[in-house]
Amino acid sequence: MSTAKEYTLAELMIVAGAEAYRDGGEVLATGIGLLPRLAASLAMKTFNQDMMMTDSEAYLLSDPNPVSGRSSHEGQAQETWMGFSRIFDNVWSGKRHAFVGPSQIDRYGQSNISALGGTYDKPKVQMLGARGFPGNSISHANSFFVPAHSKRVFVEDEVDVVCSIGYNPERLPKGYTMNDIDIRLVVTDLCVMDWKGPNNMLRLVSLHPGISVDQVLENTGFEVHVEGDIPTTPAPSEEQLEIIAQLDPQNWRSKQLKDNPPGDRS
């Protein structure tokens, strides 16, 4: 595979996100948002063909749909009905790995999409609501996608509304151990991280080209475990870029990050 010379940050994040599904087995991959969906689709198209994805509506597909440039669901590779009620049967079986973009993430890996600021009864900003985060996080693997790495997302204290369970000893349910909680990758516009630091600390895995350790630390509201020389996030291969372009023929990925920056910012 030849490494691409020119690629965008969005494409780098898609390729880095796809790695969440390497060796991930036969699980339902749910990418919420265009870039996480492309990440999962790329993984299913290349190194993990056992994965399952839906049409984001009601069918499970043998082959992921393109995210842009389609006019109907006709001709899609559907293999079973997968309406919302059945999604929960899958969720609770554990055979799923969701890739989600929380508004806030804290040192424990707890996340928030419900509301910000104020009080719970009268929040400053009402957002979506907890949606499926509580059930997802206690049932199956989850990875996080953060398009703008900042202290507004990686908050100093606990998130304002804890929607997903994390590695927080004070909230650990009776009969559970930290091993029952499964948070995988965190892919941001600066770096890739995981939760494999000491005591499930957030750990720096790789830096995107041109990004320094200090930039990551300055934009994170809590301590990040940094050990040894941090490698550079691998650039996409030409083959990967080609598959991404087939999955997104109208290049909607170019509109996902502010000013569509290049992948290499050195």
Partner: protein, 291 residues
């Protein structure tokens, strides 16, 4: 036995303080004509249980709501429902915020006449902290703790379907019937609006009965309202009305709900409403969304 009622007759059964379940999901197959009828009534202090969209937003904005049981309230392509957002940020409503699968369990418990269903959902999160009614219990079979998701018993459910007969056989041919079967079962009184009112033998042909997801004993009233899901979708008959939702969303900043209510709902019939949004034919031509 005919269960056919007018929208006014059906909605008149909803009284102050009742718990009302609303079928559909976000901007999809919501019984919006029945919701409009409810908005015109003087009913108040409702508890709404829904996978919420503009149904929840409008009822909150009109002051009909005491409490919302929700996992989300969203218009999908407009992620945040503008009037639900206002109601929450003003501290106007009580809440029971739960996970979207947990709501399904609550509807199932009500449907099955059991007080609760044990689940791990909510453990380790604020769901078990902000809902005093949600109990965490020990298991008689293992050493873990479990959330006892209580039955969400509904006085009334409002649901929109593609077609029904006068006895309450309801058919949904869209790709997903969402949790509507559970809303129908969890309620004492299920009111269904339908795009088409058809003879019973419609369901005898080929596999038509495979698209009927609950038996007619779970349906107490049938209201014939073609286009009755507008501005939400009724796939495959019509998609959701994107320009209308954008106007609705903008109204939260421009004139508030009163202006929207006056323009489309107050003192108007459903025929007036449909004329104001371009007519039934235009509704039936709304394109289906592609995800």
């Amino acid at each position: 036995m005919s269960k056919v009622l007018s929208a006014q007759e059906a909605v008149a059964q909803i009284k102050d303080g009742m718990t009302v379940g609303i079928g559909g999901w976000g901007p999809r197959r919501k019984p919006m004509a029945l919701v409009r009828e409810l908005l015109r009534s003087d009913v108040k202090d409702l508890t709404i249980v829904a996978y919420g969209g503009a149904d929840v937003g409008m009822l909150c904005a009109a002051g009909k709501v005491k409490k919302v049981v929700y996992a989300f309230v969203s218009l999908d392509f407009i992620p945040l429902e503008p009037y639900f957002r206002q109601a929450r940020q003003n501290g106007d409503i009580e809440t029971m915020e739960i996970d979207e699968g947990q709501m399904l369990l609550g509807l199932r418990a009500a449907s099955w006449n059991v007080p609760f269903i044990p689940t791990a959902i909510g453990l380790g999160t604020d769901i078990v902290k902000v809902n005093p009614d949600l109990k965490v219990i020990d298991s008689p079979y293992d050493d873990k703790e479990w959330v006892a998701m209580p039955a969400l018993k509904l006085d009334v459910s409002l649901i929109h379907v593609d077609r029904a007969d006068e006895r309450g056989v309801c058919q949904i041919k869209g790709p997903d019937h969402y949790m509507d079967d559970w809303f129908a079962r969890a309620a004492d009184n299920t009111v269904v609006s339908c795009d088409e009112l058809v003879p019973t033998d419609t369901f005898h042909a080929e596999d038509e009965a495979r698209y009927v997801f609950w038996e007619r004993a779970q349906t107490q009233a049938v209201v014939h309202i073609p286009g009755g899901a507008h501005p939400s979708s009724c796939n495959p008959l019509y998609g959701f009305d994107v320009p209308h939702f954008k106007e609705y969303n903008a109204s939260a900043k421009d004139g508030g709900f009163a202006a929207y209510f006056e323009k489309y709902i107050d003192g108007k019939t459903e025929e007036d409403y449909q004329a104001a949004v371009g007519g039934l034919e235009a509704i039936q031509k709304l394109p289906l969304p592609v995800y």
